[in-house]
């Protein structure tokens, strides 16, 4: 049987969770958030994967527009 994995923009997850909590009467204090944006993104990706949703990103957040430098550094040894 085919798997049913939907996908979701990981960058939106924290904002959407905050909004949902607020709608349910809980008020997260964004001023006291201790995690960085990167940490939030990593956590969002892990959460999405753990519940069977493929984490995705918009092209501008995902594509390497620097000439694939990460790839070149890693794979080519530049």
């Amino acid at each position: 049987m085919a798997e049913k994995w939907d996908h979701y923009n990981a960058r939106n997850l924290v904002d959407d969770v905050v909004q949902l909590l607020e709608q349910r009467g809980t008020t997260p204090d964004r001023e006291r958030m201790k995690s960085t944006k990167r940490e939030q993104l990593e956590a969002a990706q892990k959460l999405l994967s753990s519940i069977g949703i493929v984490p995705t990103l918009a092209p501008e957040d995902s594509l390497d527009l620097d000439g694939h430098m990460d790839y070149n550094r890693r794979v080519h040894g530049d």
Binding site: A2, E3, W5, H7, N9, A10, R38, L41, E42, Q45, S49, G52, V54, P55, T56, L57, A58, P59, E60, D61, S62, L63, D64, L65, D66, G67, H68, M69, D70, Y71, N72, R73, R74, V75, H76, G77, D78
Partner: protein, 277 residues
């Protein structure tokens, strides 16, 4: 047209709901973008990528809408694309042993968890192409190799298998064709995303010398570092300047610019069989 993001080499715009991926003539080596552009580089890589997208269309859908319907200022160096929801796995296929893969092999006899036979050396051709995905974001903040099972944990086994099979098939087809033109494609990186119908789709650029490693076949010699087909002039020249490989990069002299441009043209003409004009 709305500007979304600029990198060191390419720029991204939104145009009537589509994405415009624009390549510049900037060249980067050793992680640094050099101040001197190479004329037509952006157009050459864009047209090469477009040619590959067309050739590979029977294997996988791609994000290309048009290479013609773009603003005049970006003519020949832009692709109008469908916006995709990008999968957070860099899909890399390798047919040869080099770079960090070589280091892992020398240490563990594997690359990304894939066991390889003993006796391989730098630049060796692998018995068959292997899938060596990497994360885009990791706990350490750096891209890292992933095993296939880790990819499956992130995106589901079915999508992981599709990513692996497509990556290997695209690489194999590309490398086979390039080999007939005297160019070795040692490895390549592909990016996939889901389109608005949820279809897994090939995005970004494909089988260019920025997103792949091209070697001249007549110079291939396992057991030593191989020479890049196009950027080798720049790399070799930059090492003669005393530059410490940190920004800012040095200005390129005209003869190096022209030699590099000629190599990009040669790659385009050899692979596509078309005349660059």
């Amino acid at each position: 047209m709305k500007h979304i993001h600029s990198g060191k080499v390419r720029d991204l715009y939104e145009l009537d709901g589509d994405i415009l991926l624009v390549a510049s003539d900037r060249v980067s080596v050793y992680d640094v973008s050099l101040p001197t552009p190479v004329p037509d580089k952006g157009a050459l890589l864009t047209q090469l990528s477009a040619w590959w997208f067309d050739k590979l269309g029977s294997i996988v859908p791609n994000h290309v809408i048009s290479t013609e319907d773009v603003p005049a200022e970006f003519a020949r160096r832009a692709i109008r694309c469908k916006p995709l929801k990008m999968v957070q796995v860099e899909c890399i296929a390798r047919g040869y042993l080099a770079g960090l893969g070589l280091r892992e092999y020398q240490r563990d006899g594997t690359v990304s968890g894939v066991s390889l036979p003993p006796g391989l050396v730098e630049g060796s051709r692998l018995p068959e192409p292997i899938f060596t995905p990497t994360t885009k974001i990791s706990d350490t903040g750096h891209d890292e190799f992933m095993t296939f099972d880790e990819v499956a944990n992130d995106v589901g086994r079915e999508t992981a298998e599709r990513l692996r099979d497509l990556t290997i098939e695209i690489y194999a087809k590309g490398a086979e064709h390039a080999a007939t033109t005297g160019i070795i494609i040692a490895d390549t990186k592909l990016e996939f995303g889901f389109d608005s119908d949820g279809v897994l789709t090939l995005g970004d650029e494909v089988l260019t010398s920025d997103s792949s490693r091209f070697w001249p076949a007549d110079d291939w010699e396992p057991g030593r570092p191989q020479h890049a087909f196009d950027k080798q002039f720049v790399r070799d020249w930059s090492l003669t300047t005393g530059w410490d490989k940190t920004p800012p990069g040095p200005e390129m002299p005209e003869n190096i610019v022209q030699s590099t441009r000629e190599r990009y043209i040669e790659v385009y003409e050899r692979i596509t069989g078309l005349k660059w004009s």
